[in-house]
Amino acid sequence: MKMEDMPLSGPDNTKLEALVNDIYSELVEDACLGLCFEVHRAVKQGYFFLDETDQESMKEFEIVDQPGVDIFGQVYNQWKNKECECPNCKRLIAASRFAPHLEKCLGMGRNSSRIANRRLASNNNMSKSESDQEDNDDLNDNDWSYGAEKRGEHRKSQTSPRRSKTLKHKNEFSPFQYNYNAGINYEMLGPDEVQSFLTTVSSFHGRKKSFQSQRCPQHTDEQRMAVRVFLLGPSAPVLPEADSVAVPESFDIPDGQALMSRLQWEDSPEISPSDSASSKASEEKSGSPFPIKRRTDKEPVSVSLTGTNHSDSRSLSTKKKKPKLTAPSISSIYDDLN
């Protein structure tokens, strides 16, 4: 390039500077021209003087530049130190705390009733006197405590259906004082208590099912009978009534030994789950439509028909949904599985 040869010496320097000045002037003129076009267009379109109104308004909304005041002239912390008189309790409250105080004072906010109830509850616990609680909705929001549970029994008639269910369950626990303070000593429970405990626990978790049939909706009664015949032999007892609530005594397996002759626990190493599944599948072709294979996927028990006889007196539930076992057998089963 020609320019590379030009060093920045004296006269050339000025020449260069003159050139640069020329270029710069051109750029400035371009900018001016741009501005003129913009202004001219604004004038002709009529929006050039839009920000200028009459003199009075101009003075009124002039920008204020004083200390302690914003640009509109307003003082921003004017109400900080003021105090207001509450119309309810006639106290002088600071302005910033006025709204929350009114909420509590008039009893109209979200938290005011809750706090009032809690305060009354604690007062009741101290003084043991019945008080008139107006708002039942917040009762469930309180932390569960022994005192609240005891009092909850009195309010059964006033509560909604949902609450009545939970209270019913709480009433069932009363025979052996089910509360968080004492805890449950499992060893000291008798067999009847354990059965009812397990019943209520399982029915508590499956809340809806406890008041309906416990039958699995995916299978029919014929399938169930077929399984029962298969597992228990031809002398299988009849299925219990579908409408009755699950009663513990229907689950005493009549023939534990016969059952064990057909089943085998997983802890025998020579049996693999696939073998047992295939062997059972061949047996299944005799006519039972109920795929026991599915059960082996879910349960850790591998079932085979080798015919080995275990002399352990273990009782096994035939159906998954009825895990109720007699109390002495619980510990034995868990020992074996471990």
Binding site: V20, L27, A31, L33, H40, V43, F48
Partner: protein, 101 residues
């Protein structure tokens, strides 16, 4: 002198080709707005318009009135703004030197 004229033309052409001229133009515009030169000039425009009457203002009027003032104030603004002693913004001189070389 034609040599200078040629040189100037060559420089201009080079600048345009490389896109530097556009960049410099935008840079200048930004600086002028920042310094408040544009608002000053706009206020001057308002006076001119009020003088001449709103309806009959033409572009030429504005240009002839506004450009000399603009040119002069721009130079002064730039000198004051950058704090340089030369009469033209030295940063631009350097940039043009870089471009040229």
């Amino acid at each position: 002198m034609s040599k200078d004229y040629q040189m100037k033309a060559a420089i201009n052409q080079k600048l345009i080709e490389m896109g530097e001229r556009e960049r410099l133009k935008e840079l200048l515009r930004a600086k002028l707005v920042e310094s408040g030169w544009k608002d000053q000039l706009k206020a001057h425009c308002k006076d001119v318009i009020r003088e001449k009457g709103l309806e009959h203002v033409t572009v030429e009027d504005l240009v002839t009135e506004v450009t000399p003032k603009g040119r002069g104030t721009a130079r002064r603004q730039q000198v004051v703004g950058t704090g340089q002693k030369s009469s033209c913004p030295c940063s631009k001189t350097e940039k043009i030197n870089l471009v040229v070389q």
